[in-house]
């Protein structure tokens, strides 16, 4: 995403002062400051009202040092913000009750209709909320400005003829207000004050109340008639706001005009304070802008600053329809406008996460240490259970269930069979001896034992064949753990 670039176009008679600015890493870089001349027809059409003092003594053709406007700063996709000449603009300030935009616009329209000397459909107008009303009143302070349709159209035509496609046409008051807010070191502005941008030929005078420019006027200055110019300046300010109500007079002029400042201070009877450009307003080479260039191009710079910082708020009399930025986009643009700040926030977040991570690790480790210490005590209690567990496991593994085996053995023995001995041994298994009238019963018993899970390798045989039905059944015991070292009674048990 490229840094936004804005061109401020300030027309002054036949001269067109241009300032091209862009925002770079939280600073405002002045890419170019140039003076060009408007095409002759356009300049004549746009020649100002009674207060205007055309640069170059009314000449309409380009001066030797001036360039034609066309083709100088129009390249690229930079946004163009221009201003209507101050004499063509009517300014009003009112206090309205708090209201939404639609209602506020309606109230402004009603007031303008009653205040304007021409029907409201013959003017274009705009307004801005200038902040809360003074402590004695409730509501919002609203600044409204209007200009005649034909004047606006003529001015736009002249700029168009000069090769500019204007995105926003605003007023000089807005330009100077933006300059005060973003381009000068003024400190806190709360009361009434005057700003004078003075060059050797012309002074631009603005009266501000709480940072809002109420009126703008130009005074033509002859080098040998400084007192007259100062007197004009005082009279003009006095016509708008009483001079004694001024808190300060701000002076922006080349250093060689220190005498003029002195004379003005004596005429006004108030201290005239020189102002410096803001620290973040820098030339393309990185240096600070000189007060000479600032005084000469102040309104153009102010227009570009208004385009950079106050696009949505500034009064628009004409231009391209403003692209309605969604709140989401506005939020994203606000975030992206301060990359270093967000980088710092992200860095702080990473450090915080690292601190939390390490803190949690240390805390968990300490907690587990305590748990393991407590377990050492519990382990000694468990140690007493160990021998019992071993004894239990030995019983589970080696104890022979004699009763169960004999019960399983006896259940299939038929009534006709006589058992003479039963021998059960861990190592030698089962040996049954007995007699049966019918030898088939002994085989039936052997078959029944084979089907029982406790016995395996069941063998049957006849004993003492000459004496009738004697038999022997042998079997292995399933699930009985053998001990290789067990020796019984010390020899075969017969």
């Amino acid at each position: 995403m490229g840094e936004p670039t804005v061109i401020g176009l300030h027309s002054c008679g036949s001269a067109l002062r241009q300032a091209r600015l862009r925002r770079v890493a939280g600073r405002i870089e002045i890419l170019a400051l140039e003076t060009a001349s408007l095409p002759s027809g356009a300049a004549q059409a746009d020649a100002g009202g009674p207060g205007s003092a055309p640069e170059g003594q009314g000449q309409t053709s380009p001066g030797p040092g001036a360039k034609r406007a066309r083709g100088t700063l129009t390249a690229g996709s930079a946004e163009c913000v221009a201003s209507m000449p101050a004499p063509d603009v009517m300014t009003r300030c009112w206090t309205f009750p708090e209201a939404d935009d639609a209602r506020c616009r309606q109230m402004v329209a009603h007031r303008l209709e009653s205040d304007l000397p021409v029907p409201i459909d013959q003017v274009v107008w705009g307004y801005r909320r200038a902040g809360p009303a003074s402590s004695r009143e409730f509501g919002t302070w609203v600044l409204a400005q209007a200009a005649r349709n034909d004047r606006v159209g003529r001015h736009m035509s002249s700029l168009s003829a000069a090769g500019f496609q204007i995105d926003a046409l605003t007023t000089e008051a807005e330009a100077l207000a933006a300059l005060c807010r973003h381009g000068l070191q003024l400190g806190e502005a709360s009361g009434t004050e005057a700003l004078i941008l003075a060059t050797d030929a012309e002074w631009v005078i603005a009266v501000l109340i709480a940072g809002v420019v109420r009126s703008v006027r130009r005074v033509h200055v002859e080098p040998d008639q400084l007192e007259r110019a100062c007197l004009q300046c005082r009279q003009w300010i006095d016509a708008d706001q009483p001079v004694h109500s001024l808190e300060r007079v701000l002076w922006c002029a080349p250093e060689e005009m220190a005498d003029a400042r002195q004379v003005l201070a004596e005429t006004m009877g108030i201290m005239v304070k020189p102002v410096e450009p803001a620290d973040d307003l820098i030339e393309a080479g990185g240096g600070r802008i000189s007060t000479d260039r600032l005084a000469r191009f102040g309104p153009a710079i102010g227009l570009a600053l208004a385009g950079l910082f106050e696009r949505g708020d500034m009064i628009r009399l004409a231009g391209q329809p403003e692209e309605a930025a969604t709140p989401r986009r506005q939020r994203i643009e606000r975030i992206l406008a301060r990359p270093w700040r967000w980088t710092a926030v992200a860095g702080a977040g990473v450090i915080l996460a690292a601190v939390i991570h390490v803190g949690a690790l240390a805390w968990e480790t300490r907690k587990m240490d305590r748990l393991l210490d407590a377990q050492d005590q519990a382990r000694s209690a468990m140690a007493t259970l160990g021998p019992k567990i071993r004894a239990m496991q030995q019983l589970q593994r080696y104890r022979i269930d004699v009763e169960g085996i004999v019960a399983d053995l006896c259940s299939p023995i038929p009534e006709s069979m006589v058992i003479s001995s039963i021998r059960l041994s861990r190592e030698r298994g089962l040996i049954i001896k007995g007699t049966a009238g019918d030898l088939k019963t002994s085989f039936a018993l052997a078959e029944a034992l084979r089907k029982n899970d406790r016995f395996a390798e069941v063998q049957t045989g006849r004993t003492e064949p000459g004496k009738g039905g004697g038999f022997t059944i042998t079997a292995e015991l399933v699930g009985v753990e053998k001990l290789s070292s067990f020796s019984g009674r010390g020899g075969p048990w017969r």
């Binding site: 690790l361 480790t365 377990q375 019983l395 589970q396 080696y398 022979i400 001995s421 021998r423 070292s485």
Partner: protein
Amino acid sequence: MALSERDRRALVRGGIALGVIAVYFLGIDPLLAWYDALVSRHEANAASVARVITNQRKAGHYRDQVSEMEEEVGGLSTPKPYSEQITAMSEKVITAAQQSGLNLKGATPTAAIAWPEDPSLKQASILIDAEAGWENVFKFIAALYRTEGVLSVEQIELSGEGGKVVKLTISVLVKAPESSDDPWAG
């Protein structure tokens, strides 16, 4: 002596490089070592705690099993030395025989032999000769199996009609003597 711009730049860069090295060796490296130690200790503790939890569960299970088994077999105890165990067992065998109606002819202990599972133990046997009906024999075996110290019936022979003659071998685990107590030890 005035430093040229180039010298000043070189000094600044050298200073920054030295600063970075110092910060690494005095700050970052010890911090990483401390962090590694912390992570290792945490992992070891986590493994120990997991083992403890498993052992606790296992111990609870065994405790239940042991109590069930003790209800069934009377008691579970550590094997005693041969003489002590055999003396006690002989008395218990006689008592069990009397209670079961067994006509005891003899109860002869044998010498202890090695127990293959555990060198600290030995296996001794008691050979019992008796006369009794089968029902009484099984009462006697049941009584033996509730006697503390009896491992198992190793052999049983019932002979005679109705099971008159009984020959029984029971096994008992005893504590193996210490090596110094062994008279045959070198």
